[in-house]
Amino acid sequence: MSQLSRPDVEKVHVGRRAFLGLVALGAAGVAFGGSVQRFVSSKVGSGLGGLLPGGDHFRIYTITGSFPYVSRRKYRLKVSGLVDHPATFTLDDLEAMPALTMVKDFQCVTGWRVTNVHWKGVRLSDLLANAGVQPGAVAVSFDSYDGADSESLTLDQAHLADVMVAYEMLGAPVTLEHGGPVRLVVPQMYGYKSLKWLSAIRVVDRVEPGYWEQNGYPVNGWLDGATGNTNPNPSLT
């Protein structure tokens, strides 16, 4: 009896193997998960399937813990600082300007990305040109309706052809949680540079590091591969 059951009671290091196997699986996930994610998101899109790991879905961040609501009618964008013609824009004013549409991946610095986000809005460079940037200006600072967030770009960065003040996202007005009615979009940089609930544009004589930069993020939030010098030349409609 006990002779027959010998092979049964022989010890196997199942635990060590399974443990190392799972950890290796995790390491493979880190190495190749980005590709898997892109494949999965191309299959499941951003609907309910977007809730699964790998699906396209935004993770909503706010600094203050709430979303500052401004109605579309009461929305104002103030352009001021070292400019010849300080101005305040309503949403109608912005929508009356030449519109830019572009489709860009949205890449968060923490590692999630949403592919092919459709944006519509006004080129920041158009707003700056209308305002007339004065000599001595070096950078542009941005304020948010949430009263806490801020961002900045150098004048060169602000003039990139794909830096946009957006009022439409994915074919509809930018929703409150995504920074509506109007937000900044800087597609060549990580998402934190794309300030939500944009309330003011100030042309200034030095780079004022924004909220996230004061909390340790790089002031120049370039994505890997973004040169910032080559204009992606998005289509103008």
Partner: protein, 233 residues
């Protein structure tokens, strides 16, 4: 069905299943997992429901609970107080071929269960590995600057996938605990009686009886089943 003579009025032998160190480690770990899961839900699904919440606070709670997560396990394994913890970890990781077969056939082959059945052992191994993976990927997500963006994407994906599986395993674990009151009670009291052991961990019971047999032959130790207790290394 194999419970031999359960109606005997003799004092029932009590076995220590978990000592105080193990119980403390388990419940602190359980609390940490609970906090992590409850904070993960709004962090993950917040965008879908457009929920308004104190995200930064929740994020910080999630982060520091995650950093703390391995502590109870590591502390309970280290030092002279971790003798039982280490012994049980060895039990969970070294299987017999019979246990492997039991696990593969989902419990349809015979088994004189060890202190933990193969399902419980698999749970211990999985949770251990998941903690390592979630800790490492969480580290990459939080201190991302040291890692290339492709790693961050992979870490996000892996963290999410493992979190989903861990959630399912934790739900299963709680379900099994609630449907097995004797097992659950032992995580509070530390002990099980011999009838529970005969039903759920016959191999372990035989082992404990053999260890007890020499110093004080208790009345309960009388009926030794032949051939069942040779699984000791």
């Amino acid at each position: 069905m194999s419970t031999a003579a359960p109606a005997r009025p003799s004092p029932v032998m009590t076995l220590v299943r978990f000592d105080a160190v193990q119980r403390t480690a388990h419940w602190v770990n359980a609390l940490a997992f609970g906090v992590l899961i409850f904070t993960a839900i709004p962090l993950y699904f917040g965008s879908f429901f457009g929920v308004v919440f104190e995200r930064h606070t929740i994020q910080m709670i999630h982060l520091w609970t995650g950093v703390f997560l391995p502590v109870p396990i590591l502390v309970s394994l280290a030092g002279p107080w971790g003798r039982r913890m280490r012994a049980d970890l060895r039990r969970a990781t070294v299987w017999t071929r019979r246990e492997v077969r039991w696990f593969r056939t989902l419990g349809r082959t015979p088994l004189d269960a060890d202190k933990f059945n193969p399902g419980q052992k698999a749970n211990i191994i999985f949770v251990g590995a998941a903690i390592v993976v979630l800790f490492a990927t969480g580290y990459i997500l939080q201190w991302f600057r040291f890692f290339p963006v492709s790693w961050r994407e992979g870490a996000t994906f892996t963290h999410d996938v493992f979190a989903f599986v861990v959630f399912a395993v934790v739900v299963g674990h709680i379900y099994m605990a609630l449907t097995h009151p004797g097992s659950l009670a032992s995580m509070f009291t530390g002990t099980v009686d011999e009838r529970w052991a005969a039903r759920n961990a016959a191999g372990w019971l035989n082992e404990e009886r053999a260890a007890d047999a020499a110093p004080a032959p208790s009345p309960g130790a009388a009926p030794q089943r032949p051939g069942g207790s040779d699984e000791r290394a």
